[in-house]
């Protein structure tokens, strides 16, 4: 116990204290754009194998939170640690362990599926041969092996998303971030993504943080963080959050917590 306290005095300066450092620890995170406070004292933690749904309306601060975790820009207050590495001080170590699926489509439509994946592997410094075997495996798991040589432009929206998940896993991150990944997808593609991420968490111990404003995506097996106007209103396993909010369903729990209705 004493040792843990000693570690928290200077978090992330020297790196993780042990290999057991949790995938993601966010502590007292605050961020403002000018006068507008986007995030207020946000704290939560993800453990190995956790599938956590970050639920909030548009404008709740989900994208800001993701931008800070991926270090698009630095946070002003608090700390973000990925497997013990503080993102501001050790961005390289932290980012190397992180896989991201962004809200906007990010495939290069001028290139083939394989070229997109090789490009990503190169950004992470993977040798080409190893990248080839890894991307083969990842693309197979999302069922798009026969499309590897095709131009990314020829893929449907759902297929592009599947390629993006495959891409996010090529450097074998242990933490996966997904920012509203199902927006604009049909029911089947959406279900595929949900199932795929569920499998990754359960069978491979990946920790996943999945941002959404769609309450249907929050199932009882997941954990949930309710983010509203930059603040966390509730956090925990879904059944527990529902119970604490004196509600019968997640939808009712959200309405009770925020005083606003979710679509």
């Amino acid at each position: 116990m004493l040792q843990v306290n000693a570690q928290t005095e200077d978090p992330g300066a020297a790196g993780p204290s042990s290999r057991e450092a949790p995938p993601l620890v966010v502590e007292g995170l605050s961020h403002a754009f000018g006068k507008r406070q986007a995030l207020r004292n946000v704290s939560f933690q993800l453990e190995r194998g956790d599938r956590t749904m970050l639920l909030g309306l548009n404008g709740a601060g989900k994208t800001t939170l993701f931008s800070l975790i991926t270090r698009l820009y630095n946070h002003r207050g608090g700390s973000i640690r990925i497997f013990g590495w503080e993102i501001k001080r050790k961005p390289s170590e932290a980012l190397a362990r992180l896989g991201v699926v962004f809200q906007l489509p990010t495939l290069d439509l001028e290139l083939s599926v394989a070229q997109n994946l090789f490009y990503h592997a190169a950004l992470h410094g993977l040798p080409r041969r190893e990248a080839a075997s890894r991307l083969k495996r990842e693309i197979e798991r999302v069922g798009l092996t026969d499309r590897l040589r095709e131009n990314a432009r020829t893929l449907s929206g759902g297929q592009r998303r599947r390629v993006e998940i495959a891409r996010a896993l090529i450097h074998r991150p242990r933490l996966l971030l997904l920012d509203e990944p199902t927006v604009g997808l049909d029911v089947a593609s959406r279900q595929f993504l949900l199932d795929h991420v569920r499998m990754l968490c359960r069978e491979e111990g990946l920790a996943a943080l999945w941002a959404t404003h769609l309450i249907d995506e929050v199932d009882d097996e997941a954990r949930v963080i309710v983010l509203h106007r930059g603040q966390i209103l509730a956090e925990g396993p879904v059944p527990e959050v529902i119970r604490r909010a004196n509600a019968k369903s997640m939808r009712e729990a959200f309405d009770n917590l925020t005083g606003e209705r979710l679509e």
């Binding site: 507008r36 270090r71 992180l98 489509p105 495939l107 950004l123």
Partner: protein, 268 residues
């Protein structure tokens, strides 16, 4: 991250830029046709309007198309630099910039790799132009083709760094029209690309000083002298200095702590 990771990352970025360039046939053609139109039509038409006297680095009277060839090479470098800046803005709008910036390698290194990728593409274009120009009477000394290489790289890097810096400042994609109007055209016309500066000085002294203050003028002169196996100290110093300046501004622009990106995300 070890050096080999750095190497693979840069190789990947250069490879992607080259693929994109080759895949976009239209862009390749446009990039080549633009200076050729100037060379084959404009220069021929102006041949008898503008007389060019003997000025360094030339040792004889030269036809007009020989004079503007380095200026048109400068144009290739300028357009390419701005085009890569356009693609950066585009990348940021579509989000593929985000995939670049979550790479674990340092951000300055990612920007440097982008810069080098852009320069390699523009240097190749410049050589294709020189080859075509050879059949249009542009015959620099044989070694000039080699001595021009460092000048192309340095000037290309300077202009691409300027483009990178602009891309960190410009938010919207449609502003490329603005870049054309407010950056490319003024830089191109207020320079020694199309006319020797002594003629400008005779016409308007203020414009002359403006041209002298234009880094593009010095990029063109560096290329012009290098193509004739000569070294222009002033041009070298100005281009080198501007490269450092623009590179620093670009790195600051993309810095996660201070950068303009950090301050501009309020709309989300």
């Amino acid at each position: 991250m070890r050096p080999v990771h750095y190497y693979r990352c840069m190789r990947g970025i250069v490879w992607r830029e080259a693929l994109r360039f080759l895949n976009q046939r239209g862009r390749f053609l446009a990039a080549l046709v633009r200076p050729l139109v100037w060379l084959l039509i404009f220069a021929t038409g102006f041949r008898f309007v503008l007389g060019v006297s003997i000025i360094p680095p030339y040792q004889t009277y030269i036809p007009y198309q020989v004079y503007i060839a380095p200026g048109l090479i400068g144009m290739i470098l300028l357009f390419q630099g701005m085009q890569s800046s356009l693609s950066m803005v585009w990348d940021r709008e579509t989000g593929s910039m985000r995939t670049l910036l979550v790479s674990p390698l340092p951000r300055w290194y990612l920007l440097l790799s982008k810069l080098i990728a852009a320069v390699i593409v523009s240097v190749l274009q410049a050589y294709v132009f020189l080859i075509i120009g050879y059949f249009w009477g542009i015959h620099p000394p044989r070694w000039g083709y080699l001595t021009v290489l460092p000048a192309l790289i340095l000037s290309g890097m300077m202009l691409s760094a300027l483009g990178l810096f602009l891309s960190s400042v410009i938010r919207q994609l449609q502003n490329f029209a603005g870049v054309m109007n407010f950056v490319i055209f003024p830089m191109f016309f207020a320079s020694s690309a199309l006319y020797p500066l002594w003629t400008v000085k005779q016409a308007n002294e203020k414009l002359y000083y403006l041209c002298m203050a234009n880094p593009f003028t010095h990029a063109v002169e560096l290329v012009r002298f290098a193509l004739y196996e000569k070294f222009n100290h002033v041009a070298f110093a100005v281009v080198g200095g501007c490269l450092v300046l623009f590179a620093i501004l670009a790195i600051v622009g993309y810095d996660p702590g201070r950068g303009l990106i950090a301050r501009r995300q309020g709309g989300e």
